[in-house]
Amino acid sequence: MIKRLWPSRLGPQMALLTVGLLVAVQIVTVVVFAAMLPRSVSTFESGWLVARLAYLADGAMAQPPAARLAWLDAQPEARWFAFHFDEPPELTLLPQEVRASAWLTAMVAAKTTRTWARIEISTGRPRALGPVAPPGFERIPPQSADEVSMPATIVFFVATFVAPDGTVLAVRPFLPGRSQSAAIVLAAWLVTFLVAASLVGWWAIARIAAPLGVLARATERFGRGISDEALPRRGAREIRVIADSFAEMRRRVARFVGDRTTMIAAISHDLRTPLTRMRLRVERVEDADLRAALSRDIDALEAIARETLEFARIDDAPGPPDRVDLASLLQTLADERADMDQNVRCAPQAPVTVSARADALRRALGNLVDNAVAYGGVARISVVDRPDAVRIDIDDDGPGIPANRLEDVFRPFVRLEGSRNRTTGGTGLGLAIARNLARAQGGDVMLSNRLAADGTCAGLRASLTLPKGS
């Protein structure tokens, strides 16, 4: 699952890694931050709170009973507190809240200058998400409804002062806590930051990875013999160095291949002039047998010159594929050879149109057919039409090829010993040319031995597959 989701390309991998790291760092930060914040009032807040509570309780009690609330409301700090002259409801406290309550009670008791029958401070949270203000605290100081109602999820806190005369003053501070809205703001900030960082990171990584992508494409295309891809001239220095080295290598290989092709082409081209002279001279030879023998030799030399040139030039000017009617092409191949008294048979075909270079396809199939006739005495052509590809099988009745040599015969100038020797003619390039031509069009040529019912070899099958263009 993870393997399937993990992107294969460098850019997305780096981007995913960066975003993952950012998320991890943020999670750790939030966790640490949350752990460091005490669940109850912080030390700083408690010092201020203790002093205010003591001051407010003392001051209110100093007033006549009717003026107490007015006095309390008149205090500047009153906006942070709600007051009630009655016993508040009890809170359920966690063990650590019991300790905090006891500690705060002692602090307030030490700070107050009056004598109280009882001081009790309960700090904790309302269980679950119960009502924020317990009954009796509805009266909210009027100064700023917003500010007062803002800390809705503050640490719940009630201080109860009981005077010796039984007067009860309950003070409920609205302490700023970690509110839900603050959490939402924090989350929004984190998400915004994450998205912004991801976008910037993505852009930066794409810039770093793009030259590598171009380089990868160029390498892949060069591997298939196409060296037209422009190479990246930007990006990290290492990438530029690789690109420059690759460009240099590509130039050298191209030069080498070019030199080789030019040399082979020049040799086989220059052979044509002396061959032409020989052809003309041989006509003047009186002895008919000698003339025929010389003609055969010239034919052989000509075939070598022609096929070598063809092999060297396969990569030249591939040209766009054409719509080619396969049935008529195969029929033509068969008829041309049948006219020369060769045993080539082509079963009538349903019309199949392929996308290919007609001349290349004709030469590739022609080579396979000629091979079948030369080594197997007969060529039987049939077509297997599949939705995605067409396979053309050319069967002969020859001795076949040992299974371990089926690939060797595709190598240029390789011939097998024994039955396949020079007396059958040919240059050892036919199959190499056929395969290269097929591969240049996305297809391939394969050889296999056809087995008879008794397990012996009934002949060779050459199969040319061609993908169906759109």
């Binding site: 044509r272 032409t276 052809r279 003309l280 054409d322 719509r323 080619v324 092409l329 006219d339």
Partner: protein
């Protein structure tokens, strides 16, 4: 010389053939070959010599090598075509299809690949001369780029046949020549001998089957119903006639 003999000599005037090739041996050997075959031959090594010769001599056919020092065979072909309708046969050592197409588009009539078979060269030269003589009374035809009939397109230069969908339909050399010969003379009945002549002149395949076999193969490839042919009809005791309407598209089209 008696008048009758002079007359006969004039009537059987030897065709004069121009050869331009920079290889002295090939020049000499080709001259011998064509000379032995009954032609009068003048051979030169380059374009400049050809120009000088054209000022004083007239020729019936030219054989030009493509690879020449100075102006190449294509340039000479263009020059020659500008002043003459004589058949031009190009000789080349380059097997490229593009070379052949360029040569034919420049106005060459034929294209022979080196090393050529001497007999084939002689046969082609003869065929071109014969065709020129046949055509003499008529006005010279404009060079045709392609022939259209019933959605099909024949490209005589690239030797390609395409059906209505633009798909390349393959023909053997003989089939193609046969189709071109018939289509160029649509609505005219052509005897088997005439067809054989027209076809053999161009390809000189020694193993061509009879015209009838090639016609029936051609029908299987282009006729919607080969048993009831629409395009190539058989004329009893006459030969064949191409009955579809053929529209030639010349170079300007």
């Amino acid at each position: 010389m008696p008048a009758a003999a002079l007359l006969e000599k004039m009537q059987t005037r030897k065709s004069h053939i121009l050869i331009v090739d920079d290889d002295a041996d090939i020049r000499r050997l080709t001259s011998q070959l064509l000379g032995d075959s009954g032609f009068r031959v003048t051979a030169v090594a380059d374009g400049a010599a050809m120009q000088r010769l054209l000022a004083t001599e007239s020729f019936d056919l030219a054989v030009l090598d493509v690879m020449l020092p100075g102006e190449d065979g294509f340039a000479l072909c263009r020059k020659l075509r500008a002043v003459s309708k004589m058949p031009i046969v190009m000789l080349t050592a380059r097997a490229d299809e593009t070379d052949r197409v360029v040569g034919l588009e420049l106005g060459a009539d034929d294209y022979v690949l080196k090393p050529f078979s001497p007999r084939e060269l002689v046969a082609r030269v003869r065929a071109h001369l014969r065709r020129t003589n046949e055509l003499l009374p008529a006005a010279p035809k404009p060079r045709v780029k392609s022939l259209r009939f019933d959605g099909w397109t024949i490209d005589p230069i690239r030797r390609e046949l395409r059906n209505a969908e633009g798909t390349l339909v393959s023909l053997t050399g003989t089939e193609f020549d046969l189709l071109t010969a018939l289509a160029e003379r649509a609505q005219r009945v052509l005897s088997r001998d005439q067809l054989l002549d027209l076809v053999r002149g161009r390809t000189a395949h020694p193993f061509d089957r009879s015209i009838d076999v090639s016609i029936s193969r051609l029908r299987r490839k282009i006729e919607p119903f080969p048993d009831e042919p629409r395009f190539i009809r058989t004329v009893r005791n006459g030969g064949y006639v191409f009955t579809a309407e053929v529209v030639p598209l010349d170079e300007s089209a």
